[in-house]
Amino acid sequence: MSDPVSSEPVLAVDGLSIGFQTRRGLLPAVRELSFSVRSGEMLAIVGESGCGKSLTALALLGLVPPPGRVTGGTVRLEGRDLLALDEAALRRVRGARMSMIFQEPMTALNPVLTVGEQIMEAILEHEAVSRKAARERTLALLERVRIPDPERRFAEYPHRLSGGMRQRVMIAMALAGAPAVLVADEPTTALDVTIQAQILGLIDELRREQGTAVVFITHDLGVVSRYVDRVLVMYAGRKVEERDTRDLFAGPLHPYTRGLIAAQPRAGAGAAGAERERLAEIPGTVPALAAMPPGCAFAPRCPLADARCVQAVPPPRRAGSGLVACHHAGETHAL
């Protein structure tokens, strides 16, 4: 992709570990996750439910709900380690330098406040501006996310808006402080396919215009492949592969990534070769947090697994445009 991407990462996550405190001890949910994004860049974090991707998103803003907690690592935003900040300092970062949009636009907005009030709040909590100025900016934001008739929508309550409109309101809210980083946690999952494309297009357009770095959390590789620069694949709390989008689709190195890509339905396939083109699936399920195997977490489901995979966690290795964590990386494409 040929966007103007600066070289210095605006967000750098290093060795991030998150665990759940339980009676039987600490269950690790995310282990030593590292990645970075530059201004104007869009990174997708992809994985199955329960792989720790949403938890990672929340950890970036210091919002991991108990009994979960961050157990190690750093999250550097514009050079500052957010995990070292106290709650008050963190609050000033949230919604101002880094903001987040969520999966469920139906429940993510407060039902008893108008959408205008909720967007204005994001401005007024961070800046000493008059209500009138905040209102003007809110109307501009609503227009920016292409909500028709902003004046009227401003005074509307969330239940009067469609799912797509609510997600636009969420985006407007997230953009209110002109953040350096936008974290989007499955923002299109709950929407119709056509609306999905619109919302994705909008996020893509905004990051190009405003140079916002976007961390896009999703379980659906296909949805984001057109828009993201890089893909980070997570499995059972670890990064298993991170590559430029084009390279990843051209030649996935980790057997899990290959499985994910093979499990994508392709347009045009079907009718003609319905029998041959049966959608591939990855056999088995993700291991439970409490029953994590000592070696590679994917080994029980992996066609290439051998004795080494069962014993030792594969360390991440350089591979072309990115990294892969597999003892058999790139050995064979036969699956």
Binding site: A108, N110, E121, Y157, H159
Partner: protein, 322 residues
């Protein structure tokens, strides 16, 4: 709004008709009638005398005739005549109604404000000492019988400390007027209102705490935190507004029962309200008076419920009146 009021007015008519029907037949199911009680008290219960009494009060008519006559009277707000008190029922009720409404209103207001504040505080300090203390106190109030609380409050604040009057609504000896009278009534009101309110205070405190904690777990609170809203503002603006909805619902349901609670409190504090009047009417088989009181309290409860519905629409924009 107008459509809503018109529709609820139609509902009110049906509800009141139903209440009148139930009241009337329930009371007639009980053995004995006013003539028997009157005759029993006078000590001369000859069949002729009882027959005369019944004819005089229309008690010899068939039930449905008595009921239709009762309905006809209700429409003109003629609630009949209390043969025991020798006064029209409507007059008796109007004498007592303000005292009861004052007591109920004060008790509910006190319970709402104090209960919600305590619940709010407990939820904001969930799991901490403040929360534990509030929860235990609320449980205590919840479990203590109303009459016992009343008597204990009298013992402590009237007898031992001598801060507040023992009972009644005004001081008998003084002939007060204007502001002095208001102050005097307010002083008399404290103990009965607190007694009646404590139980409801406990309910609202517990409900408010639970509702707040539930709302704290909602997605939109996470959204508010993610956009950097101050915790204080989250509590007041995002959580409180939503947590008030179940409180209002409960309030509507409880207004009927608080009228029942008023009977006990009015008796303990000799408060000249409807509750005590109803209590007396029940024991004296003063059928007309009892029916009148039941009917009037139904009207109050129905009207208050409509008001609660209106408040609900103010709090929750998702509920629309039409």
């Amino acid at each position: 709004m107008l459509t809503y009021l018109r529709r609820s007015a139609a509902q009110v008519v049906f509800v009141l008709l139903g209440i009148a029907l139930i009241n009337f037949f329930l009371l007639h199911l009980a053995p004995g009638d006013a003539a028997q009680v009157l005759a029993g008290e006078s000590g001369a219960a000859t069949p002729e005398y009882m027959e005369a009494l019944r004819r005089q009060f229309g008690l010899d008519q068939p039930l449905h005739v008595q009921f239709l006559r009762y309905l006809g009277n209700l429409v003109t707000f003629d609630l009949g005549y209390s043969f025991r008190q020798s006064l029209p029922v409507s007059e008796l009720i109007l004498q007592r109604l303000p005292a009861t409404l004052l007591l109920m209103g004060t008790a509910i207001g006190f319970a709402l404000v104090a209960g919600c504040s305590l619940g709010f505080l407990a939820a904001r300090r969930a799991g901490k000492l403040t929360d534990t203390v509030i929860s235990i106190v609320a449980l205590l109030f919840y479990a203590t019988p109303v009459f016992w609380v009343g008597i204990m409050l009298i013992v402590v604040f009237s007898v031992i400390l001598d801060w507040l009057p023992v009972g009644g609504m005004t001081s008998v000896e003084a002939n007060l007027s204007g502001l002095a009278l208001v102050g005097d009534v307010a002083l008399h009101l404290v103990l009965p209102a607190v007694t009646l309110g404590l139980f409801y205070l406990a309910i609202y405190a517990r409900l408010m705490r639970a509702a707040m904690l539930e709302v704290y777990g909602q997605d939109f609170v996470r959204t508010a935190r993610a956009k950097g809203v101050r915790p204080r503002r989250i509590a007041w603006r995002h959580v409180l507004r939503n947590a008030l909805l179940p409180i209002v619902t409960t309030l509507g349901v409880q207004l009927g029962s608080i009228l029942g609670g008023a009977v006990l409190v009015e008796t303990v504090f000799s408060w000249p309200g409807l509750g005590r009047l109803a209590f007396a009417a029940l024991f004296q088989r003063d059928l007309n008076l009892l029916l009148g009181i039941l009917f009037c309290s139904s009207v109050v409860v129905v009207l208050v419920n409509i008001a609660v519905d209106l408040v609900y629409t103010l709090l929750d924009p998702r509920i629309e009146l039409n």
